[in-house]
């Protein structure tokens, strides 16, 4: 009996560890992460507002593709213009590609003419792992009630070629607009493509 219970708990845990990743339609994982100004943010701070998450690594060619074409910046402007919160998250561990100091992060925002609400420095990778963020760019949309509505790639063409941006189906933008309009997201999960997030091991 005892052994049986153990086995059942064991198999439940295997299932649970696979489920640790965020699920569409469920509350998004909370987080507490410092931004480049030294200010801490939590998901609950933004309740009542739609939240967009963007995982980034400025040296990743896939990220470069969307910044060089101004695709990412115009999405940031569009979404924040609609009242949404846009958090750019850097989960690169110190010493890995994409890891930056707060000052460097602000400089990147300025030089690239980017418009996020804040840039979060998730050095420990805790927030990244909670969201099961795998690549840069990896995109999420959370509605005003804290429910996860979209997780996946920025668009439909997995490439580092800037020419593909206008050709691609903009999965993330479609989802973000749908959530802002209060309508259903047609494709809530898509293939995230890009560079691996450089987590601390």
């Amino acid at each position: 009996m005892f052994k049986a219970t153990l086995t059942l708990i064991g198999s439940a845990m295997i299932a649970a560890s696979a489920m640790a990743s965020p699920e569409i339609g469920q509350p998004a994982p909370d987080f507490r992460v410092v931004d480049t100004q030294g200010q801490y943010h939590t998901l609950s701070d933004f309740s009542g507002r739609t939240v967009m998450l963007e995982w980034t690594n400025h040296d990743c060619p896939f990220v470069v593709k969307h910044y060089r074409t101004d695709n990412m910046q115009s999405l940031q402007r569009e979404m924040t213009g609609e009242g949404a919160v846009w958090l750019t998250v850097i989960s690169s561990a110190p010493g890995t590609q994409g890891h930056v100091s707060p000052a460097r992060a602000d400089e990147l925002t300025a030089t690239r003419n980017a418009a996020p609400t804040a840039v979060l420095l998730d050095e420990s990778g805790e927030m990244g792992r909670a969201y099961d963020a795998r690549v840069t760019p990896h995109m999420y949309v959370i509605d005003e009630n804290g429910i996860l509505k979209y997780a996946g790639g920025i668009d439909s063409i997995p490439s580092a070629n800037p020419d593909d941006v206008p050709r691609a189906d903009p999965y993330f933008a479609n989802a973000a607009r749908a959530v802002l309009n209060g309508s259903d997201v047609e494709r809530p999960v898509t293939r995230p493509y890009g560079c691996t997030v450089k987590y601390a091991d």
Binding site: S11, A18, T196
Partner: protein, 700 residues
């Protein structure tokens, strides 16, 4: 002197120029393109190729040490290398033949790709009517090369080949040999997958795959992006001839592929095969059913039903009776058409009655398919006696009275006198009855399809089957000259008839076998005794027919024999082993079919294990093979006297649908353990013998 020097220089430079143009015009290697951390070039196996035949090209990628490019499924990040080909119009380029992949773990994530020098082979041809004697082929290659971080790269690689008598490129040979050594073997082992909850189950039906999985270094590379969690380990289970790979569904899974490639590898062997989606779920089945309602699909099915009916005439259980009847009708002269029409009516109506019965029973929740009549031992027993009677009649042991169904010689009379209509109709009915043992095995699948159609269409299909069966008679009746094709009756007919008894006896043997499987060997023995007594009855009856009358004593004797036959028959059926314990031993299976009634009956008395499954459910199949149909579980069930009921939802049985909904499920598999006096316990959707055992032990 100076002019000599200049002219020498000119000659020399002319030479170099000529050499370099020649090299550009014809080369089996492109120049090397160097990009950050990777060098690329294009190679041809042949320096001269012929038109219209397949040759092989290789894109050679040489990354720096520690850097890698990606497989067709790059894993959690990265990009598969892509090649776009430029060649004369009409050329053909096959897909990349991917080498054996490697797995790279990067923190919590995993990638699949290739380190060191990598050859991507591609087969191609140029059109058969290609007019020139040289051809230039260009590969535009895009790759992502990664170590800790990634750099996208691309190269345009061109080579020019001569066209003519094919000639191998000597210097490229060793490289192509190396390239082919790194390719997996291609296997055609049947493999399927399905997704249940957060679980992807892949089964490979091959003892060789099972043998490979025993190796320490075994790994299965799934060639579909975002299908499985790449970093998580697979759970591998095996039976004698089936490899089961269970993987967690990828968090970012969004599309189910129709098929994908699977590389099974260990240190000494690598095999690549296709894995296909399970055939169809219930949704697909009903979609197909909906699609059948219109035009060509239905017409085609009706044509097949007609042909199927036509073929039934040749079945060993039908042909002897009908061939004799046909000759009788053909030779009776005047009344051919009405007879044929009555006969057709008998056949079609009988089919419709059986079909309507079947549909009504299914609507009432019975899990029945065509051939359901053969699931009933009473009916089989009756058919055994009927076939024995027909066989003995054909052997000439006795004659049917004219009042009976009008078989054998009496047909001639019945066809020409007033009772012809009734006789022909009855023959039609009889034809369907004696055809039914043959229909079950031969037409089961097609009719199984008919059953899931809307009732009107199902009835139409059955009616068409009937028309097909009756068609030879209709043709005899409608085409005036047709009868003349048949041989003239004569003494030979008697011999023919007696030969025709043999298929009837063989059909009897088959029916007895079916009966034995259902009712057990004891019942079978008693039924055989009934057959002997019944045969004796008919033989004695035949002798009296020859004597032209019978005494009262003989009548009483006949009645006694009939009585004994009935008693034995009844005894055989009442003694049949209860399906519970016995049928297991007889047919070697450890389960019984689930029906609501059987489930209710057993539930109070003993523990019951219910397994809801379907043929198209790969997860179900895998669970049965690795956890349920195992000696350990059979022993466990026997030890605890657990009845194992299996419900088959392949054709969407409504009773099972309702059962599933009671457990908030809309699909299979579902496993429930009932222990008397305890709440039902639902087992996980993924089973192992350990989980089954622990569930049982926890609930006893």
């Amino acid at each position: 002197m100076r002019w000599i020097y200049i002219s020498l220089l000119l000659v020399l430079s002319a030479f170099t120029a000529a050499a370099s143009t020649a090299a550009e015009e014809h080369t089996d290697r492109s120049s090397v393109v160097t990009q950050p951390h990777l060098e690329a070039r294009l190679l041809s196996e042949f320096s001269t190729i012929s038109r219209g035949h397949l040759y092989t090209l290789a894109v050679e990628l040489e990354p720096d040490a520690g850097w890698h490019t990606y497989w067709i499924n790059p894993g959690d990040s990265g990009l598969a290398t892509q090649i776009r080909w430029q060649a004369p119009e009409g050329s053909y380029f096959d897909d990349i033949q991917w080498p054996i992949a490697q797995k790279f773990l990067i923190g919590p994530l995993a990638n699949y790709g290739f380190e060191d020098t990598t050859y991507l082979l591609t087969d191609f041809n140029i059109p058969a009517d290609y007019p020139h004697d040289q051809v230039t082929i260009t590969a535009n290659v895009d790759w992502l090369v990664c170590e800790e971080y990634c750099i996208p790269g691309s190269a345009e690689l061109s080579l020019t080949l001569d066209v003519g008598m094919p000639e191998l490129s000597e210097r490229n040979q060793p490289l192509f040999r190396t390239a082919r050594n790194r390719l997996p073997e291609i296997a055609d082992w049947p493999a399927r997958f399905d997704i249940q909850g957060r679980q992807v189950t892949i089964i490979v039906e091959s003892p060789e795959a099972v043998a490979m999985a025993q190796e320490e270094s075994f790994y299965g590379f799934v060639g579909a992006s975002e299908l499985v969690e790449h970093a998580e380990e697979a759970r591998i289970e095996t039976t004698d001839d089936m490899l089961v790979i269970r993987r967690t569904l990828n968090t970012y899974h969004s599309e189910v592929p129709d098929k994908f490639i699977l590389q099974l590898t260990h240190d000494n062997r690598s095999v690549e095969l296709w894995v296909r989606g399970a055939d169809q779920g219930p949704g697909a089945a009903s979609a197909a059913a909906g699609g059948m309602e219109g035009g060509p699909g239905l017409a085609l099915v009706l044509v097949f039903a007609f042909l199927g009916g036509l073929i039934l005439n040749l079945m060993p259980c039908v042909f002897p009776v009908l061939s004799l009847k046909a000759m009788a009708i053909a030779n009776s002269g005047k009344r051919q058409l009405p007879d044929a029409l009555w006969y057709t009516a008998g056949v079609v109506l009988s089919f419709l009655v059986i079909a309507a019965l079947l549909l009504a029973l299914r609507a009432a929740g019975q899990a029945l398919g065509w051939g359901f009549q053969l699931q009933n031992p009473w009916l089989i027993g009756t058919l055994v006696l009927l076939f024995v009677a027909i066989g003995l009649n054909l052997s000439g042991v006795f004659q049917f009275g004219t009042r009976l169904m009008g078989l054998g010689q009496s047909q001639v009379q019945s066809a020409s006198d007033g009772s012809g209509a009734k006789g022909s109709f009855a023959t039609g009915v009889l034809a369907v009855i004696i055809a039914s043992p043959c229909t079950a095995p031969f037409m089961g699948v097609a009719l199984g399809f008919a059953i899931v159609q809307p009732p009107a269409i199902a009835l139409l299909i059955f009616a068409m089957l009937g028309i097909g069966l009756a068609f030879p008679f209709l043709a005899l009746g409608l085409i005036p000259g047709a009868a003349r094709v048949l041989p003239k009756p004569g003494a030979w007919m008697d011999g023919f008839k007696q030969w025709m008894a043999i298929p009837m006896y063989l059909t009897t043997v088959w029916l007895l076998w079916v009966f034995g499987r259902q009712a057990g060997v004891d019942s079978l023995a008693i039924l055989l005794a009934a057959v002997v007594i019944f045969a004796t009855l008919l033989w004695w009856h035949g002798r009296q027919q020859l004597q032209g009358g019978r005494t009262l004593g003989q009548r009483i004797g006949l009645l006694m024999f009939a009585g004994i036959t009935v008693l034995l028959f009844w005894g055989a059926l009442s003694l049949q082993q209860s399906p519970g314990s016995s049928s297991d031993e007889v047919d070697g299976r450890s389960w019984q079919a689930w029906t609501p009634e059987r489930h209710e009956a057993l539930k109070g008395e003993q523990p019951v294990f219910v397994n809801m499954t379907a043929d198209w459910c790969i997860t179900c199949l895998a669970n049965e093979r690795v956890a349920l149909d195992t000696d350990a579980t059979r022993a466990l069930f026997a030890e605890h006297d657990i009845a194992y009921l299996k419900g088959d939802w392949t054709l969407q049985d409504p009773a099972i649908t309702e059962y599933l909904s009671r457990y908030q499920r809309n699909g299979v598999p579902l496993y429930v353990l009932y222990w008397p006096g305890r709440d039902p316990y639902v087992l996980p959707q993924i089973l192992t013998t350990g989980i089954v055992r622990d569930s049982v032990l926890a609930h006893q």
